[in-house]
Symmetry: C2
Subunit: 297 residues, 2 copies
Amino acid sequence: MAILERNHLMIIQEVAREGSLTAAGARLNLTQPALSHAVRKIETQLGVKIWRREGRSLVLTQAGQWLLSLADRLLPQFSLAEERLEQFANGERGILRIGMECHPCYQWLLNVVSPYLERWPKVDVDVRQKFQFGGIGALLSNEIDILVTPDPLYKPGLIFTPVFDYELVLVVGSSHKLHGLTFITPEQLADETLITYPVPAERLDIYTQFLQPAGIAPRQQKQIETTDIMLVMVAHGRGIAVLPRWLVEEYASRFDLHSMRIGKRGIAKQIFLGRREADEDLQYLKDFVHFAADPQG
Amino acid sequence: MAILERNHLMIIQEVAREGSLTAAGARLNLTQPALSHAVRKIETQLGVKIWRREGRSLVLTQAGQWLLSLADRLLPQFSLAEERLEQFANGERGILRIGMECHPCYQWLLNVVSPYLERWPKVDVDVRQKFQFGGIGALLSNEIDILVTPDPLYKPGLIFTPVFDYELVLVVGSSHKLHGLTFITPEQLADETLITYPVPAERLDIYTQFLQPAGIAPRQQKQIETTDIMLVMVAHGRGIAVLPRWLVEEYASRFDLHSMRIGKRGIAKQIFLGRREADEDLQYLKDFVHFAADPQG
DNA sequence: TTTAAATAATGAATATAAATGATAATTTGC
DNA sequence: GCAAATTATCATTTATATTCATTATTTAAA
């Protein structure tokens, strides 16, 4: 069977370039006899005449010329691959797959990713949001490398780092009847239309920490995927929403929005970045946590 | 230094496909220990972790996944190359470079090449007409593979095969004063305008075999490259020409042409196909000679 | 034509790498 | 916890490359 190797292509290419076995050997760090043997072996192994001996130099046959063009096409891809591998080895290159379990954090994430991409030009970032076995499962099964979550689950092999604290607030439009209160009670939401991200209620703190303990449900719930649309709706009095305070403030200049505390004490939240212990030596990965904890670098 | 080999890619691909070393080994005709060693060697040689051991199966790391995609891209090209090489080895594939030293034979060549291309779909045909050191030189220096010539030069290493006989005839238009004669004499051409292909007189049989022996030259000579134009000119009485009889007959239906014998005995010609003895085992090359000698196959 | 320089081919010996068989160590499902 | 399946390890064998020393060619110059 013909077994065409990278080696063979290199020899064909180098002999063609240099025109002599001695010269080609020098470039390949081989002696002339080594090449002489190799050249003969290649021909017998492949079962094709690749060179015609003209005087003391080798001239490519038709099959040889065809192989040379193949070599010119394939060999650079090998070289490139090795370059990439070195980058992998140095931890310079990678795909940083970020899993998000915190819908509103998307905005925050963009602010972290931007300077990070500048710092790590060879690292690509990918963001995923759906996980069959939850964010922790995705992390453990190597589906993602970083998990952005408000719910750290300390497990062996995983490292969680808190990256920022924030407060969940109620957002209303300026003409809303709740506008102006310093804080709201569960009862005041009973008549409202609550706009949320499309996630189950048990993953929404406004339910688990505020409404359900009081045994109250909003009159209506609407699910909207994107933060922008959600806030446009709120600004036009079509409902109320619960979002991080910093996010509301960011949008306040564009939309007519007002935030107020949820309950007397408010809902405090903390966002964690989870990663695998096994990735400890991936510098670009650890560095992302730094950027996240301290966005200005 | 990292030396990424075809082998490595095959192992990465097969292990990923099969999910176990034992199974992959079977497909690669290797024992399990062989693969186990190989797998470890690949990682140390490339300096990158490629697999993560999860239980008893190997899961690709990011670098590994990247390598797998590389393998999926490169390996098929190797397989294809080997297929092609086999075709080269069997003489199914190649470029047939035909050299022409017989101007009017171009028409005949087309009739041979057409069915030949059908029979050898993987062989490409190239036709060349100018040679620095003559057709024989081009054949010897591997510039061409087949020489179409009326002048075989028997040299060691070359094989000539006659492929067809024909007669050179004089062509005139129907209103030409020579029209109607059964044959012509050199003297009758002394007042004529002779149209020839643009080649030196010593390569034109009408000179070497007919006019020069009689010490006669035509009143005028015009050189025209293409047969069609040449015959249009002749049909309109703008000159006379000397061409193979079969060629004149082919054009006779379209133009108003008449042929007559040159001298009492006529000029008989024979066309040969020359090739190198060294190409004896190139089936597609030998077959061309068959097609040429017997065009209907 | 001879000669010297350059290059390729050859062959035996050596070095390197790969594969194997036997066996120990893990992992997995029951 | 046990049996089946799989992987890891190790010494040994096998196969493959490489080298060194030498011979054979080719080329260009004397």
